[in-house]
């Protein structure tokens, strides 16, 4: 099988071995659960419950407000403790039984509109790290007939993270089924399941469920970071380039994360909303690294305890992958729809680096998947030179962090570029 890829990228130590071979464990939360009403995109969901109200697992607690917004459901039975501007907290009574759900028809008998409604009602959003964009919008492009490929992103190129790998190996049938459901929405599309070549076991598992009557293919991608970046993945598979003014739909592609596809299947086949997901807990500070099927809203402190707690005190705890994740000030954070990993590191490599002037070695340029000149862009950012930043395509940065990773002078290139990018976007 041909291994596909793009130009650029980096090879950080994968550190996946500790978690990739262990089956995922189910975690039933004991403490209170917190549900944010907002995730990166669109408008806050509007709470539909009040303090003191009883809810079951699966009860709608906040309703999407407008088009770019998504429903929020409780993941456990309990009492609404309080509702504030950006979150709802539920007191856990330890009952995981779900609300009785309406009988659903087999997906083959559902119309496109019914499928999209089920997806929207279930509150499904992009579930890769730092995504959170409502999936029903992604699945409703201007002209669905022009979509040629539905791509399931199972690259998982970030170090440490193995939750997609586990999902693909443990429930390959459900991933294939989820993809079949999405394909029903697009008459001219074929399905592609994209998996990095470091997950050969997953490829074999998936292949067992591919039948001739469906146009679904598995493609292997070269293992490097950021192979799972949307634009780079589309390029590797179709040789089509997407820039910041375009959406993947412009080149006939839609990319969905493995977890998202899984959630779509759960919503359409079982009629259940998005209330749990798989999360990798890893890093050298964790006693028993592994993957967990976690109820949304679970405090990450509980999740870390489920992984045996800390073996050594961590200096840094990251939510998401080490390349693009966010470092936490404290552990009082809930698992959200887009939390794919918690990584606790004994030593924070970033604070120990010795920064020097740029030595013009060209490594950042070599690795930049957007083929930019990160060192120059970071200079323009530091000097506030917006015009030069624009002229040099600074907005095409995909914020992958490869430049900062590779820089021998240890400059925070990505930080500078992202800051100015943000500033330009805010101005618009």
């Amino acid at each position: 099988m041909a291994v596909l890829t793009f130009k650029g990228g980096v090879h950080p130590a994968s550190n996946k071995k500790l978690t990739s071979s262990r089956p995922a464990e189910e975690l039933i939360p004991k403490g209170d659960l917190t549900f944010p009403l907002f995730l990166h995109h669109g408008r806050h969901a509007k709470p539909v419950v009040k303090g003191g109200e009883w809810v079951s697992a699966g009860t709608l607690i906040a309703k999407a407000d407008g088009y770019v917004s998504s429903n929020v459901h409780s993941s456990i039975a309990g009492i609404v403790k309080y509702v504030d501007f950006d979150s709802i907290v539920i007191e856990n009574i330890g009952d995981v039984n779900e609300e009785p759900r309406s009988i659903v028809k087999p997906y083959t008998e559902l119309s496109k509109k019914e499928i999209l409604t089920l997806i929207r009602e279930a509150g499904i959003v992009g579930m890769g790290g730092e995504e959170g964009y409502p999936t029903h919008i992604k699945l409703s492009p201007e002209d669905p007939g022009k979509i040629k490929y539905i791509i399931v992103n199972g690259c998982e190129c970030e170090p440490y993270i193995t939750c997609n790998n586990r999902r693909l190996t443990e429930e390959p049938d459900k991933i294939v089924e989820g993809l079949k459901i999405v394909l029903r929405l697009f008459d001219n599309a074929k399905g592609v399941i994209a998996i990095q070549d470091d997950k050969k076991a997953a490829v074999i598992k998936i292949k067992q469920y591919l039948t001739k009557d469906h146009d679904i293919h598995v493609k292997m991608l070269y293992s490097k970071y950021p192979q799972g970046s949307e634009r780079q993945l589309i390029y590797a598979l179709t040789k089509k380039q997407v820039n910041s003014h375009m959406t993947p739909a412009d080149v006939g592609c839609l990319v969905l994360n493995v977890e998202t596809i899984y959630a779509i299947r759960t919503a359409v086949v079982e009629g259940r909303p998005l209330i749990s997901r798989m999360v990798t807990v890893a890093g050298d500070a964790i006693k028993k690294p592994g993957n967990f099927k976690v109820r949304l809203g679970t405090n990450i402190r509980e999740l870390i305890e489920a992984a045996g707690g800390f073996k050594k005190e961590p200096e840094k705890v990251i939510i998401g992958g080490p390349m693009t994740g966010e470092s936490l000030v404290d552990l009082d954070r809930p698992v959200t729809k887009d939390t794919n990993a918690i990584i606790a590191l004994v030593h924070d490599p970033v604070v120990r680096v010795h920064q020097t002037n740029c030595i013009h070695c060209g490594r950042c340029i070599e690795v930049c998947p957007s083929r930019l000149i990160p060192t120059k862009l970071a200079d323009y950012s530091a000097l506030g030179m917006v015009d030069l930043f624009r002229e040099n395509d600074g907005r095409e940065c995909i914020e992958c962090g490869s430049c900062s990773y590779i820089c021998p002078a240890k400059r925070s290139l990505a930080e500078g570029i992202v800051m100015m990018k943000q500033m330009i976007i805010d101005e618009l």
């Binding site: 375009m246 013009h360 060209g362 820089c407 021998p408 240890k410």
Partner: protein, 315 residues
């Protein structure tokens, strides 16, 4: 247990590659050790003294500059040591120590620090200092002593139309600058640089290739055909290998794009050969690199890679 401890936060990425500026400089120093050791073996203790003087003078000038300007001391990046070492290896072994000091101070203070320190200079400090010394102290810079007698370098012999011993030139048992006589020692270091992925093959390859093609064309016109030993003698003599592997590949003063590196290497090869065949015998490599340094930003500009997705879709 985690209540007391404050977690560290920073912008992503939270992991970093092992390579660092000082490690890269250390690798260059390690790569130069065979040539340094051979220089000391070939020319004796005076060569060693000169090397130490250059390195010390470079390090001290950078330290005093940083202290005087009340800036963070930047010695830890080891770039001053590299500059001192490369400059020393480019000097005749019997050069007066004070000239070496002047060269070192010029390299660090005038060429490097005045322009903002590491990475900000537009000429390679060691090469610029060599050119400066060649112009200012032409006589002393061209006085080569080998085995206690003033003797012409293979290149001067070649230029005068004499015959040279290719094997001795390859091993380095000849007259010349401290570090540039032994092709073998320089190649060992170059292999190390390639293995450690410190330098890209393009600049040295196209430098040497362009040089070889030029020499071949020259010999067709002047000697009636390609003369293998004449070509080999030119490749092994003077500072060509030293220049191609250690000086032209200086990150700061060379282009970064792959195509730019090819053009840059070829330009250096052509310039070096022109200076060598039609100009004076010594310094052709240094002069070529300095001119190349000045052209580098332009070469880089015209060979810029196209951004991903640029013009991909017209709405």
């Amino acid at each position: 247990m985690d209540e007391q401890k404050i977690l560290r936060i920073s912008f992503f990425p939270h992991i970093r590659d092992k390579a660092s500026t000082s490690r890269i400089m250390l690798d260059v120093i390690i790569a130069l050790l065979p040539a340094t050791a051979f220089g000391v073996y070939n020319f004796g203790w005076r060569a060693l003294l000169l090397i130490l003087i250059c390195v010390a003078a470079c390090v001290l000038s950078e330290l005093l500059w940083d202290l005087g300007m009340k800036k963070r001391v930047t010695l830890r990046d080891l770039s001053a040591v590299v500059t001192g070492l490369i400059l020393a290896l480019n000097l005749p072994p019997t050069l007066d120590w004070w000239i070496a000091v002047i060269g070192s101070v010029f390299a660090i203070v005038v060429v490097k620090m005045l322009f903002g320190g590491l990475g900000q200079n537009f000429m390679n400090p060691a090469v610029a200092a060599k050119c400066f010394l060649l112009i200012s102290f032409a006589g002393r810079m061209n006085a080569f002593v080998f085995q206690n007698v003033i003797s012409a370098t293979p290149m001067e012999v070649l230029k005068a139309g004499g015959n040279v011993d290719l094997l001795q030139m390859f091993l380095g048992n000849t007259s010349g600058a401290i570090g540039e006589t032994s092709a073998l020692a320089l190649l060992i270091g170059a292999v190390y640089l390639f293995i450690r992925r410190i330098i890209d093959f393009r600049i040295p390859l196209f430098y040497i290739l362009a040089f070889a093609v030029y020499i071949s064309i020259y010999s067709i016109f002047t000697r009636g055909g390609i003369d293998g030993s004449f070509l080999a003698a030119h490749l092994l003599s003077g500072g060509l290998l030293m220049g191609a592997f250690y000086m032209a590949t200086d990150y700061v003063t060379s282009p970064v794009s792959p195509a730019g590196r090819i053009i840059y290497g070829a330009v250096l090869g052509v310039l070096t050969c022109t200076f060598r065949l039609f100009g004076s015998a010594t310094g052709s490599v240094a002069y070529a690199i300095i001119i190349g340094n000045l052209l580098a930003p332009l070469i880089e500009k015209i060979t810029r890679q196209r951004s991903f997705g640029k013009g991909a879709h017209l709405r």
